[in-house]
Subunit: 321 residues, 2 copies
């Protein structure tokens, strides 16, 4: 089987590429390296079954050509930054919604019938039910990022209905682990490297968030794509717990052996579109036999250990701070 | 007050323009006349308070310039054709999603804070609950049209959250009445004009659909935009009843005084993305005091009478048949 992986040089995409190669698949990886890292592909590049295509999802001819001959698509390429949406109001639409439209068109033209898609728990907006199930009440969007992923989900479902594609849509909480390269643990580690004495926290630190360790996330994706056989398969992916931002600060401080003074910018939300509580109901994926193996605290600690040993990652996305 | 109406030459847009002018507003109408009709604006053109700008939503500089000085936006311009989505897979995305993104950007740049948007009951996909409330279970999209409108809703909500806009989002059933220019009543009237002896019906004729008369629809829009004061206001609009396609055929036949032989293409769905049952819960708009005054049968009969007296409308959209 040949898998086409968009965003293959990203945090999740590079790990998925490694796993698919280890499982015996051929992988064509596609990335524009806007946020992807060449070093994340060092392991993949050692495989003869890996082929890298440097290109942009918005370059339709390049995408269409690169996809030719693949059997399925793992579509992970995205602008994954929720926080800076209002500063770049077109970016989520272009990278996430139009990018997904191009992926679907390229699949249709190439006769590729299966797509797995990295969506987000952000599509639930500020949910009314916790843990939030996949069929939660029709949500109202609170971020351009969530809206762009919701739009992508809608396009995928409509292509399944209109053109007979089959899809697996995964709504993630934040993912932790090696190669983690954006989000609040990243932000805190970078701050504490620059100034171990103090830490600036967006919001009141009481935000409750769920997380998932990268390999648990990949276990779920690979299980679902092999076992779930509906036309459109939608799964929440997350731990069966959540933590307060303040708890994660304590773990990070302990892992880095620092005790910073903390200042809070205040308010329930750290930024526009921040969600004060994210906790997804994962009964659906659990019914397939999946369980996460790494808890939230362990995931945070592994992430911090990785960032400490790979400080270059902390320097790599300074443009977004 | 100066209102900016996109799609001002369309079925609903032209009636809304007439109503706003009658209510004393100034109206800047914007239309690319891809499906809009100049004759629908004859009444509006007699008003000195009406100003028409011929332009396309995808022409951002033109849109931005035309919007300058308006106080609110009624965004009705869209590709309103559900049925032909798969034949033109980009059209809904461009006309509806990107068009809405441009409207929102033009509003942001011009400092305009209020938008009313014509969404659709199609965003519920194949709903699990009837009548379907606004907070129905998170739907799965079944058409590119529905997906494009859902994406537009998401963008609007995210702009409200991110930039302080206020919005009124209306999820319509099919609208009937004078100037009606697409949909199954239109299709049947055109067929019966060409060949009164027979009628070809897509699907099994058992599809159950709800409808709403145009002036009832406008009453609801104008009431909601003046009374509902949340940041994001979402309303279903529809009659408190539905009919079978076969019932509507009987009314149309009776109104036209023909008794055609009917052939069915078969199947529950007339086309890909057709919805076998549409019936919306309108308790939310009713709580503001709104009631529809014209029932479904009367609405169908008025529509048929209009199309009989204005046969030019039946000829105007032949490209879409």
């Amino acid at each position: 089987m040949q898998a086409f992986v968009t965003g293959c040089a990203g945090f999740i995409g590079s790990h998925l590429t490694d796993r698919l190669l280890a499982n015996g698949c051929a992988v064509v990886g596609f990335d524009n390296f806007s946020t992807g890292q060449r070093r994340f592909l060092e392991q993949a590049q050692r495989h003869s079954r890996f082929h890298l295509v440097e290109g942009d999802l918005l370059d339709m001819p390049a995408l269409q050509a690169a996809m030719q001959g693949s059997d399925c698509v793992f579509h992970l390429a995205a602008n994954a930054d929720v926080r800076h949406g209002p500063a770049f109001p077109r970016r989520d639409l272009e990278q996430n919604t139009l990018g997904t439209s191009n992926v679907l068109e390229a699949m249709r033209i190439n006769g590729i019938g299966r797509i797995a898609f990295a969506s987000t728990g952000s599509v639930y907006g500020e949910a009314a039910i916790f843990p939030t199930p996949e069929d939660a009440p029709f949500p109202v969007q609170t971020s351009l990022y969530g809206a762009s992923k919701l739009a992508a989900e809608g396009l995928i479902a409509a292509y399944c209905e209109g053109f007979g594609l089959q899809s697996w849509i995964f709504r993630f909480v934040s993912i932790l682990g090696e190669r983690y390269s954006h989000g609040h643990v990243f932000d805190f580690c970078r701050q504490l490297r620059e100034h171990p004495q103090w830490l600036r926290v967006l919001g009141d630190g009481r935000q409750r968030k769920s997380y998932l360790y990268i390999q648990d996330c990949l276990d779920a994706i690979l299980l679902a794509t092999s076992r779930a056989a509906a036309r459109i398969n939608i799964f929440n992916l997350g731990a069966d717990a959540y933590c307060e931002v303040n708890e994660s600060i304590a773990w990070i401080g302990s892992a880095l052996n620092v005790t910073p003074q903390i200042t809070y910018t205040g308010g329930q939300r750290g930024w526009i579109g921040d969600n004060p509580f994210i906790f997804l109901d994962t009964a659906r994926i659990r019914a397939l036999g999946w369980r996460p193996r790494v808890g939230i605290e362990a995931g945070v600690r592994r992430t911090v250990a990785y960032l400490r040993e790979n400080a270059w990652v902390l320097d790599s996305r300074a443009c977004l701070s």
